[in-house]
């Protein structure tokens, strides 16, 4: 029993990122409201960011800013500092998430201007009635 708890807790980050991702995926597929789908999309993206950043974590390491070296030729021990590469990748992913959010909200406003509702089923019924008239 002890080692099961140990393995679960040892990789707790990875279970949480999977639950967040599945929440986002479910919201994008099953939610009826367009804005709720956008929220689901953003949760989906932040879950992947959680996965990446938890790769770079090292136990007992500090933030990846090299402390001012008094003696210049002292070797820097990489184990003291966190892994900076996932942080760089995730700077990009966060900004891409905001860019996609802005564009998706612009689309949602444009859909609302045209169909006067944000519910997917109401929009589809409006489209169906319009195609029957033609």
């Amino acid at each position: 029993m002890e080692d099961i708890v140990q393995t679960v807790v040892a990789k707790y980050n990875y279970w949480i990122y999977i639950t967040l991702m599945m929440m986002g995926l479910y919201a994008m597929i099953a939610k009826n409201n367009l804005i709720k789908k956008i929220v689901g999309m953003n949760i989906f993206q932040t879950a992947i960011i959680l996965f990446y950043v938890s790769i770079g974590v090292k136990k007992g390491a500090t933030i990846p800013i090299i402390k001012a070296l008094h003696g210049h030729h002292e070797a820097i021990n990489p184990a003291e500092y966190m892994n900076p590469l996932p942080h760089v990748l995730m700077l990009t992913a966060i900004v891409v998430g905001v860019a996609t959010l802005g564009v998706a909200l612009a689309f949602a406003i444009r859909v609302y201007n045209r169909y006067n509702t944000l519910e997917e089923d109401e929009i589809l019924s409006q489209i169906r009635t319009k195609t029957e008239e033609i």
Binding site: L25, Y26, I29, G56, P64, P84, L85, V95
Partner: protein
């Protein structure tokens, strides 16, 4: 639709959990990710780029090409929002709404006639909030936010921060002004054209530095080429190159955030905003 979603979610979730079993434990120092590529950045960042913040040196120098495209992503989002929602040729409504600034009385004036006196300000929808407390506090807040944003951009080398964060805070300071008063008065301070040109110039500054290094015979975005221009040795040239690029990113992100906000808040008509 809910059932399909549930089944898909369970399948992918199970598959991901099955695959996560093989990961190295969370946070152990000798996982492959922290042994193969990243120690090089930590060991050489101060020596090669004179920038103690390893994340900023990797963002703007070792993998600066990624960040250039990533700033382009932000600029593309601004162009797409403008392209989708902006309605340029807008027909003037026949009667206009005016509000008396001091008392808050709103009147409707027929087309062509002028409001009775100067204190009437033009508004588009009757419910626009007009709150004295928020207006004055935001007016006090904006300069300090902007100073902090400039600090964040410039001190990206030594403390957490950099182009993106500083640019967003700069943009946020102007958005605060646009929310507290209204979009129309903010547009008097920053025209839509200057805003778009600002964000285009910011990313052009970033890509232009790269192209400049190309013209000087080095590879694209290789800041060693800037050494003869900036009259510094190669390591300082890299540090200054990073700084120029961060300023470019800050300008681009600021312009784009204001641009997207003003398009979204006014549904493309650039009228009253929130």
């Amino acid at each position: 639709m809910k059932a399909i979603g549930f089944v898909i979610v369970l399948l992918t979730g199970g598959f991901l959990i099955y695959a996560a079993a093989d990961f190295p434990g969370w946070g152990d120092p000798n996982s492959p990710a922290s042994l193969h590529v990243s120690p090089y950045y930590l060991e050489n960042t101060v020596e090669q780029t004179h920038v103690p913040n390893a994340v900023t040196s990797v963002v703007a120098d070792y993998r600066g090409y990624d960040t250039m495209f990533e700033t382009t992503v932000i600029f593309t989002a601004g162009v797409v929002c403008f392209f989708l929602l902006r309605t340029l040729l807008r027909k003037e409504p026949e009667d206009r709404l005016y509000r008396h600034v001091l008392t808050g009385v709103t009147i409707r004036v027929k087309e062509g006639k002028l409001p009775p006196s100067e204190e009437f300000e033009r508004i588009d929808t009757t419910w626009t909030p007009h709150d004295l407390i928020i207006k004055t506090i935001c007016r006090l807040l904006v300069p300090f936010v902007q100073i902090f944003a400039l600090y964040v951009i410039c001190f990206g080398h030594y403390s957490p921060g950099g182009g993106f964060q500083g640019g967003v805070i700069l943009g946020a300071s102007i958005i605060v002004y646009a929310i507290s008063t209204d979009l129309r008065s903010e547009l008097q301070r920053i025209r839509e054209k200057t805003d778009a040109l600002l964000s285009a110039f910011g990313v052009f500054l970033y890509a232009g530095t790269g192209a400049l290094c190309l013209l000087l015979g080095f590879n694209f975005l290789d800041y060693h080429a800037l050494a003869p221009i900036l009259f510094v040795n190669r390591v300082m040239a890299r540090s200054h190159g990073i700084f120029i690029v961060e300023v470019g990113v800050g300008i681009a992100v600021m312009g784009t955030m204001i641009w997207i906000y003003s398009v979204l808040a006014s549904r493309g008509h650039y009228d009253e905003g929130l």
